[in-house]
């Protein structure tokens, strides 16, 4: 039966929310000064951003959401006090073929290892498969990001591509791993209900 009562944006301890252009630039600017976190999240060269630069990014994100229709971006908030925990997004959506790429990040060190990722990922999957109707999703993870490797494995993703020696970090060479999950596999995991 069609289940429209289940809220898409509410989990046990977290919720998805929109960007807050007033409150968030300050917080996210702090995260960008945490090089260790940024290097787990990004394959591009990391650099610290000022609150004004983050604000600009937020504007271009919402512009892309409005015009490109290929980006779906959420902030992750704590249900308890609504503070910003991280972000969850589906990007580069290819509507012709039904593909999208997932990204997930928990920004502040004190919010990590609390299981928020394990609450955010199923919510993002339900959105990608139940709301966007994608055929499959992909997550690209550097082989040095053990937390992310474990998270995607835990939710039934299959390792599909391993680009050998694709990354250089501190002079060390790492593989780049691509995980995939199909809509049909996700439905099976959830007894057909999602």
């Amino acid at each position: 039966m069609l289940d429209i009562q289940t809220q898409l944006f509410e989990a046990k301890d977290i919720r998805f929310g929109p960007i807050d252009h007033e409150a968030h630039p300050e917080i996210e600017s702090k995260w960008t000064h945490d090089a260790e976190f940024m290097r787990l999240m990004e394959l591009k060269p990391v650099r610290p951003l000022s609150p004004a630069m983050v604000k600009k990014q937020y504007e271009s994100i919402e512009k892309e959401m409005e015009e490109g229709k290929s980006l779906f971006y959420f902030t992750i908030r704590a249900r308890e006090d609504d503070h910003l925990i991280g972000k969850a997004l589906v990007e580069w959506v290819d509507w012709t073929n039904g593909n999208g790429f997932l990204r997930l990040g928990i920004g502040a060190a004190e919010d990590r290892r609390k299981g928020y990722g394990s609450q955010a990922l199923p919510m993002l999957l339900r959105y990608a498969f139940g709301e966007l109707n994608l055929y499959r999703v992909t997550a690209v993870v550097p082989a040095y990001n053990n937390g992310a490797l474990r998270l995607f494995q835990k939710f039934g993703f299959m390792e599909e591509v391993r680009r050998r020696k694709a990354l250089n970090r501190d002079g060390e060479i790492w593989d780049l791993v691509s995980f995939g999950l199909l809509n049909s596999e996700w439905r099976e995991q959830n007894n057909g209900r999602g």
């Binding site: 073929n97 499959r136 050998r164 020696k165 060479i173």
Partner: protein, 189 residues
Amino acid sequence: MKDIYRGALVRLSSQSSEDMAKAFLKWDRDTEMHRLADTDPAQLWSEKKLKELFEKDQEKDPPRAYRFSVRTLPDDKLIGATGLVPNWMHADAWVYIVVGDREYWGQGCGTDAMRLIVQYGFIELNLRRITLGLHSYNARALKTYEKVGFKMEGRIRGEGLRDGERYDGFYMGILREEWLATASSEEAK
């Protein structure tokens, strides 16, 4: 030093936006060619728009991508295009190749051009690896890439949908040390 733009059957040349626009105006009508090369929906662009797309791409110096036309030897016929899109930080690049003129399919021109562009990537751009993707139904491309020395690195299940059928995306890579061990790298020295 040898001429790195010249192979046995083809040479790599510049992309004149006029010539490329005229060529793609014709090649884009061949939807089999398009469906072998791309995951985008096939569509038809005007010559004016095609020219603008090639010009726009050439505006930046150094460029975002290193692109070439593929011309036959010795009659210099424009038959395709190839290029590298580098990620400098990780010394990796995406490579693409298209032989737009179907009269030249299956004659070794694509393989020859691929050897040239891979060589360019390793000896001129100093890459550590080169990456490519292809559709699981493109057997001719797979053979070409294997001949040049690419190794299969995985498959994206059901990456594309055409005429109601799902197909996989194959991803391949060649490492610098693997290329150095091939015969074509010997010739480059």
